[in-house]
Symmetry: C2
Subunit: 503 residues, 2 copies
């Protein structure tokens, strides 16, 4: 980890020299007509985004899976028009609570003609969206793309319809300007991302020896920048979700009649949850912090280069102060240190008003965000052991059961991989600045899954702005980011093709 | 308090002597025909309970207030038939959340002809019930009184329709056997008890100088025994309900993106709730335990006489052990010491499954059961101060707001009052044993309210069994308790009339 980060720092410092050694054809000659085409066709690209946003592909609503399928078909058609071989791959069925089995929407697998002399790039994206309703606080119809002050508002504008279209438009731009796409391209586009990518892992595993066998690089554009500056993302935190169940009497009890004479499950649970972290946010489960990759001076410096406006962020989320008092501390807490959040309690009274029952069984819920070098299985064991030890000290007559789910691993890539170099050059070419090398505090299991199953280099190349509001009301992507993002992808194809064969 | 309890102990020890001094007419001569009438008419009394249970007087359901009114009318008619003057007293209106005002069901105020030479007894009861649905786990229709193994199952059988009818039948028995009722009787019967007795306090206050002015004793039969032995109840705990609100960011946040960098309201709340009591059930709020009336040796001895089967109770509620390891300790914890129960959290995730949001605002809810000599207003101040001090130590950027409601005072009566002596004699006459002198851990505000507003002696004279399941599925009263309870009330009228005029 330390070695890897040292490499990042070095890369940042040698970027100007590397860019002068790699060009077999001058970048500007190639890129200028591409950029011009994109600028000239931006209204058309925005219009197409409008057509996509209008499809209510909300995968959380079974009744809208037909819309998801419609948009997958539109994606497939578009890829075919551009000359790709397209398969709508079956991903099996989902068992409903009623017992009925329903077919899952397929996954689009597309590949363009292959030239063995070119590197092969596989793009992952999704066309389904989170739910959106006017009454949630949208200013305008979430399914009618609306431009205000340079921003394109609509559900899916940034997550992930805009970026998927930007990839398609980048390919279209090469074709329209009669330039050969300088890389072999593959696409894997799904419609179930917002509800957990059912069936996708299995499909990746099944196609590892076929579809993925000749892939060199996998790129995901399903996140956003952290500031106003472009970014490359080289890591995400993992996550495990825990359920702490304390079961006591066989019936709910009247707190007046029995209060004071029995050990209440809620008292046990509150003590258990209270033992997990202190008021500085430090996780108190023994072993968790010890597993964190040590912070080196080089890595610390890396954080200095990231633009993060504390005051703006405080205002945006409405907090008086963060747990850390400087930018570096905050970003490290979000990206490179574990965190623990208590989400709620099932089985206790949760409605407005008052109720005086002693609930017989309560389930506390919390999640741990994991970072290298934590192992979900080890964390699970440590958390369970800690809770059991605390519980044993209380000599409670109640029964404790700790279970967990998810267990998504943290992901961290090697930014010395060629595609990161190409990504940085592409950013420089389009935006005129070096990208920020960032990580995500949230868990994007697909990145770790791609890396683990295929063993390929994975990069997240976001084009969305830090204030796009994925999953929120009034989600948007700015016209600037959408159009410059399209240029970024076109430039990225070029820069990737320009890398020395054996770096 | 200590003096008072010493008096109870003394009373228990002199009971056999007192009973031989009080009879102006021999009790057996008077009571035998009454008891015989009650035994002979028990099927009729059970049938009438069936008619009352069939009226779905669930006051929690606005749509069923008509049924409540029906039963109040039936009660009034029955009282009129027996010669009482009856008023259906207006208790004002209730404001619905829609803004609409609706009239509350009236309260039945009844009085029989007054003889200035007799003591005046006022009985309080209610004819409304808790909700009941087959799907909650009733074995048979809750509104169709069903007899199984000597028990009469039905909603309201014990709470409070059975006891109210037992009072009416006791009066009827005197009249039918051509005996003069030896006390002046008043009845106050309401239909909103299960939803907080809206309007009742105000009515008591308004009628304090009229209806209540000549009342000597107030009796409530709205609780149950604590064992298989009859009981007189001389105290209840008070209650205050607290809301601890912690408000943080202006929006719910993604725990992956922000986890570790902000002080989460749930972390604050769990620490606050965890500071309230330790794992032995001891309340940690400074000042609360210090206010509790000291336990004297005399009072301790009083608890020895109470029959309470630990093993049976453990089985009944399904706990492995209590916080105390002996009967006395458990009953004291329930009756004479304060307790604190955490009921739940509003605003956090409470559904089944998993959700990884950091809730922006959470409200913890707990209640404190209060005992003499605690003052609700002082307790409120102590709890708030404690929480604010704990919160201040955490230096949280979040906002803490503590509010409270209810604030019902604890109630404790003086069991040297004549009606307690009469009550004990009546129990002895019907059941052949001394009653247990017990308290209630739960809060029955009406007892404290009657005492506070009218200044009269209040006694709770229960006839329900400890396993009747008030508010639960399959609520019942045993035929034995219902019929012997009717005798108890008849005997009580007699014993009260036999007390020396100036005790």
């Amino acid at each position: 980890m330390a070695k890897l980060l040292l490499a990042i720092v070095m890369l940042l410092h040698v970027s100007s020299s590397t860019s002068s050694t790699s060009s077999s054809s001058p970048s500007s000659t190639v890129l200028q007509p591409l950029f011009q085409y994109i600028d000239e066709h931006q209204d058309e690209f925005v219009q197409r985004l409008g057509e996509w946003v209008a499809v209510k592909s909300d995968s959380s609503d079974r009744a809208l899976w037909g819309e998801v399928q419609t948009l997958l078909n539109m994606t497939a058609d578009r890829l075919r028009e551009m000359g790709a071989q397209v398969e709508l791959a079956d991903t099996g069925t989902q068992q409903l609570s009623s017992g009925e089995s329903v077919s899952l929407p397929p996954v689009v697998l597309a590949q363009f003609e292959r030239d063995p002399n070119k590197p092969t790039l596989c793009f992952y994206g999704h066309v389904d969206v989170q739910p959106a309703k006017m009454e949630d606080g949208w200013i305008a119809d979430p399914y009618n793309l609306t431009e205000r002050d340079g921003n394109l508002y609509g559900r899916g504008a940034t997550d992930n319809k805009g970026p998927v279209l930007a990839w398609l438009h980048a390919v279209e731009t090469y074709r329209a300007t009669k330039q050969e796409v300088p890389v072999n391209l593959k696409f894997i586009i799904e419609g179930m991302e917002e509800v957990g990518s059912d069936g996708l892992d299995e499909l990746i595993r099944l196609r590892n020896e076929s579809f993925f066998s000749d892939v060199d690089y996998i790129v995901i554009s399903d996140n956003v920048w952290v500031s106003r500056r472009p970014a490359l993302t080289y890591g995400t935190r993992g996550s495990s979700y825990f359920f702490v169940e304390v079961e006591g009497p066989k019936i709910d009890l009247h707190s007046g009649v029995f209060g004071g004479s029995i050990q209440e499950p809620m008292t046990d649970l509150i003590a258990l949850l209270g033992s997990l972290l202190d008021h500085t946010g430090k996780v108190l489960v023994p072993g968790l912090n010890e597993a964190v990759a040590p912070l080196t001076e080089e890595e610390r410096k890396l954080y200095e280069d990231i633009h993060y406006d504390l005051e703006e962020m405080k205002k945006e989320i409405g907090v008086k102060h963060f747990l850390q008092d400087n930018k570096e501390g905050i970003l490290m807490a979000r990206w490179r240190y574990p965190s623990l959040s208590i989400h709620g309690i099932e089985g206790a009274f949760s409605d407005p008003g008052s109720k005086t029952v002693i609930p017989r069984r309560v389930i506390g819920k919390f999640s741990v965000r994991q970072v290298p070098n934590m192992e979900p299985a080890v964390v699970e064991r440590q958390v369970k052991q800690h809770l059991q030890e605390v519980f044993a000290r209380h000599k409670s007559p109640n029964i404790l059961t700790v279970s967990s789910s998810v267990g998504a691993k943290p992901w961290v890539a090697d930014p010395r991989d060629p595609q990161y170099i190409a990504g940085r050059k592409a950013v420089k070419a389009v935006f005129g600045v070096e990208p920020e090398l960032i990580r995500e505090g949230s868990t994007i299991p697909i990145a770790a899954n791609f890396q683990e199953v295929t063993g390929k280099s994975v990069m997240m190349l976001p084009i969305g702005g830090h204030d796009d509001g994925e999953h929120s009301q009034n989600e948007k992507i700015s016209r600037y980011n959408y159009i410059q993002g399209t240029k970024l992808f076109a430039a990225f194809f070029h820069e990737l093709s320009q890398l020395p064969k054996d770096p």
